[in-house]
């Protein structure tokens, strides 16, 4: 009784806020929760005319097929290594960039740098990879010619398995660091200016202010984004990898999503593709929960 009354009271009081959040709720219900029953496909031999419910159950057949593939070990290794390297490099760079940006005094110059830095985000990944291949071509590529000044024999870096991850991660950092820094720039803008003033009065230099005011102030943002990024860790899209890899670099470049692309989508094996997708999501959830737990224990900041 009373619970109901309190609910009513809350709704009457916060109806505007609830209205604002409604589109988000509908979005997640329709596009995220709604399709979830499709997970069933992973445990069935999906037959289109029978639909998801009518298709026969096959238990873990598709998971066994995945684990049974001779490439399973390599796929796990490549997917994890690529994800981890990507996180290690692409996560701190935007933070450092935002901090540096904050130290630029000239407003106009600051804005120019910021805009210039996030422009690459809008360049199609096809174009980025094209530029990269061009720069690194063994036959007349600008970077290759530059390296040869230092006595490096020209070679095609896209054919070296050991060069794949650095190229992938490096170009990704270049393309996204400006864009990803926006949220930190916003967080920094929200810091109370009085903190800086009083620190300056106490004799703190710019470095001290950065370490003792700016960083701690945006730490919650950093940790939240870190947790969220970890939850997305294995969701590496296949597009860029497919553009960058070739048969000589499969040994480091072939990851789950490219494997599913070749095997599942190109051969219309829907159930198999769902099984891999599900396995991927389960691992992601485990990583997310783990990261959240650790963050809660150590810093008392967490997403839930």
């Amino acid at each position: 009784m009373t619970a109901l009354r309190t609910w009513k009271k809350y709704i009457r009081r916060d109806w505007m806020l609830l209205l604002i959040i409604l589109p988000g709720v509908i979005y997640f219900a329709v596009f995220c929760y709604g399709p979830m029953y499709g997970i069933l496909m992973a445990f069935k031999d999906y037959n289109i005319s029978k639909g998801i419910w009518g298709s026969p159950w096959v238990g873990l057949k598709h998971f066994k097929e995945l684990v049974g593939s001779v490439y399973f070990g390599r796929l796990v290794k490549n997917t994890f290594l690529l994800s981890i390297e990507q996180l290690i490099w692409s996560f701190p760079v935007p933070i450092a960039f935002a901090l540096l940006l904050n130290e630029i005094r000239n407003r106009k110059f600051q804005r120019f740098v910021q805009t210039a830095a996030y422009l690459p985000h809008f360049v199609s990944v096809v174009v980025v990879v094209g530029i990269l291949k061009d720069l690194l071509s063994s036959n007349g590529g600008v970077l290759t010619q530059f390296f040869s000044l230092f006595g490096v024999t020209p070679k095609n870096y896209f054919n070296l398995p050991e060069a794949f991850r650095p190229l992938y991660v490096g170009s990704g950092v270049w393309q996204e660091f400006g864009w990803n820094s926006i949220i930190y720039v916003a967080a920094i803008a929200g810091i109370d200016q009085q903190l800086y003033e009083s620190a300056a009065l106490d004799g703190a230099g710019r470095w001290k202010r950065l370490i003792h005011i700016t960083l701690p102030s945006i730490a919650p943002t950093i940790i939240l984004l870190l947790i969220l990024n970890m939850g997305n860790m294995l969701n590496i899209g296949y597009e860029k990898v497919i553009l960058m890899y070739n048969a000589a670099t499969y040994s480091t470049a072939d990851i789950f999503s490219t494997y599913v692309y070749r095997k599942g989508l190109l051969n219309a094996q829907y159930s198999f593709a769902s099984a891999v997708g599900l396995a991927n999501s389960v691992i992601n959830v485990i990583i997310l929960l783990g990261a959240n737990f650790l963050a809660k224990k150590t810093t008392e900041i967490s997403i839930f």
């Binding site: 999906y46 037959n47 289109i48 005319s49 029978k50 639909g51 097929e65 593939s69 001779v70 490439y71 094209g130 291949k133 061009d134 071509s137 063994s138 036959n139 007349g140 070679k155 095609n156 896209f158 054919n159 070739n246 048969a247 000589a248 499969y250 040994s251 072939d254 070749r262 095997k263 989508l265 190109l266 051969n267 219309a268 094996q269 829907y270």
Partner: protein
């Protein structure tokens, strides 16, 4: 902008047709039912119109025109003419990118199924198995027997086509896009810079040893004459290093096809045979000496051609020789690519090149189609009837071609001197000819487009001197199951090892263990499947 251009061209065409109406009406009177633009050709027993104008409307889903910026949705001239002659209105649900994904999603969810469909995944026939077993593609046998005289005639002319359309249960669920006609004419092999050979005083290579000498000369000397002896790439591939298996003709194989049959009709896969090792050894030597481009997936090929760097292009059809010339001409006005003869093991070699694959796209009618009779009649018209094929290959009389009193056809300026679409193919595609649906490309029309060029010479030299390609048959349920679970991993392994052997990251001493691994991954089972399919192919083509 382009849309308006096409609309204007259509208006021009109507005017042009009125001007030349004298010759055209004579034919049109014989078939009074059709209100046609230009000559009406043989309908092969089909009666037109199929229905009263606009009475039947069908949806088609698949690729859009292969001409950038032009969509069937814009009312391309040829499609409008087809509608005028057949009375059937087509709603084009066509896309120029990501078609496969969109189609697969729709077909998997049974939502918004079109009446006629290009069966995904393209470049493969597994979709025909999947979607026919699921009841989405309806059997066409009875429809064809009752309503499609031209398709019947086409099957009679090309038993291989009927074989490739026939599923393992004996039914026909999809019609194969048919390249059997055009591929009799168009060779796909290697072409070489004749001007480089002339610059260095070399002869056209015929054997594998001569080829090696030419490659070395291209590498070591300044073949393009720009003063830099180091910028030449002697041999590059169109779609990646694995294309280099084309050189197998120089190593005792009769033809350049990985799948082949011997005298007894046994099916073989070349890449796991001892002979193949000799080719790999040769390629490895060439690669280590810098004779083969290290652009392993071929992405830089066009750029390198444009920069006047590529001596030989491997695995490209003859018509692309002309476009390669156009690209390189900007850098070097002397550029002259010539099609190469088949590379032999020695002077007495008799290896022949293989024709391009007969099909790699399939088209069907879905269970959502309310009027399959009209659909099959429409397909019969556009895919197999002479009248429909004239529109298909040449476009519209008066707009894209003229016909003199002897029946000789010449393309108009719109096709040969188009400012926007410089190649005749794109110009034809921009008005809706050479479509992407129910493909049945005409070799004669192809030769017409390239009349008087070296492409024509190359085609004439190849005509009648090429082997039939290995047939791609539709699998049984069991075969498809084995194939789809084993082949993706296996083909990854084969590609990877081919590359590793050639670029030298894997020693050729390990060739035997490579064959063993391939067998353990199911190579022999795949060969068995192909063998069974080949047997079915022979049965159908013989009967």
């Amino acid at each position: 902008m382009r849309k308006r251009f096409i609309r204007e061209m259509t208006a021009v065409s109507v005017a042009a047709v009125m001007a030349v109406a004298g010759g055209a009406t004579v034919f049109a009177e014989e078939v009074p039912d059709i209100e046609a633009t230009g000559t009406v050709y043989d309908l092969g027993g089909l009666t037109l119109p199929i229905c009263e104008p606009g009475e039947v409307s069908l949806t088609y889903m698949g690729n859009d025109t292969w001409c950038a910026g032009v969509s069937y949705n814009d009312g391309t001239a040829v499609q409008q003419e087809i509608e005028k002659r057949t009375g059937v209105h087509i709603e084009w649900d066509t896309y120029s990118s990501d078609v496969e994904t969109v189609l697969q999603t729709r077909m998997a969810s049974l939502e918004g199924l079109p009446d006629m469909v290009e069966v995904p995944p393209f470049d493969s026939n597994v979709g025909v198995d999947t979607y026919s077993r699921n009841g989405i593609l309806i059997p066409l046998n009875d429809l064809i027997a009752e309503h499609a005289p031209n398709i019947q005639a086409l099957f009679k002319k090309y038993p291989a086509l009927e074989a490739m359309c026939t599923s393992s249960d004996g039914n026909i669920y999809a019609l194969a896009g048919w390249w059997g006609d055009i591929n009799d004419y168009v060779p796909d092999y290697l072409y070489i810079r004749q001007d480089w050979l002339d610059n260095l005083g070399l002869e056209m290579p015929h054997t594998i040893d001569e080829l090696y000498d030419v490659l070395t000369a291209f590498k070591e000397q300044d073949a393009n004459g720009n003063g830099d002896p180091g910028d030449e790439i002697p041999l590059a591939t169109k779609a990646g290093l694995k294309n280099l298996y084309y050189l197998m003709t120089g190593f005792g194989y009769d033809t350049n096809s990985l799948w082949y049959t011997d005298m007894e009709g046994n099916v073989h896969y070349a890449a796991v045979e001892q002979q193949y090792k000799d080719m790999l050894t040769f390629l490895n030597k060439c690669y280590s000496e810098g004779l083969i481009s290290d652009d392993l997936d071929g992405t830089l090929l066009t750029q390198n051609i444009t920069e006047d760097k590529v001596g030989i292009v491997c695995h490209d059809p003859a018509d692309n020789m002309a476009s390669s010339d156009d690209m390189a001409l900007t850098g070097n006005p002397n550029c002259n690519y010539q099609f190469m003869p088949v590379i032999q093991a020695d002077e007495n070699g008799t290896a022949q090149m293989t024709k391009r694959a007969l099909t790699w796209h399939y088209y069907g009618i879905t269970s959502a189609c309310k009027n399959p009779e009209a659909a099959i009649k429409w397909i019969d018209y556009v895919y197999a009837s002479e009248d429909g094929r004239m529109l298909y290959s040449y476009g519209i009389e008066g707009l894209s071609y003229e016909k003199d009193e002897n029946g000789n056809i010449t393309f108009t300026d719109l096709i040969t001197n188009n400012e926007t679409y410089t190649s005749a193919f794109s110009a034809l595609r921009s008005i809706g000819a050479w479509p992407t649906y129910f493909i049945n490309d005409s070799g004669e029309a192809f030769m017409k487009i390239f009349e008087g060029t070296k492409v024509e010479d190359a085609c004439k030299a190849a005509y009648g001197n090429m082997r039939d390609p290995f047939p791609e048959m539709l699998g049984t349920a069991e075969e498809s199951e084995i194939y789809t679970s084993m082949w993706p991993d296996l083909s990854t392994y084969l590609d990877e090892m081919f590359t590793a052997f050639v670029i030298g990251t894997e020693s050729l001493d390990n060739f035997d263990s490579y064959v063993e691994t391939a067998n353990s991954m199911g190579m022999q089972q795949i060969i068995e499947i192909k063998g069974a399919q080949y047997a079915r192919y022979q049965e159908i083509t013989a009967g």
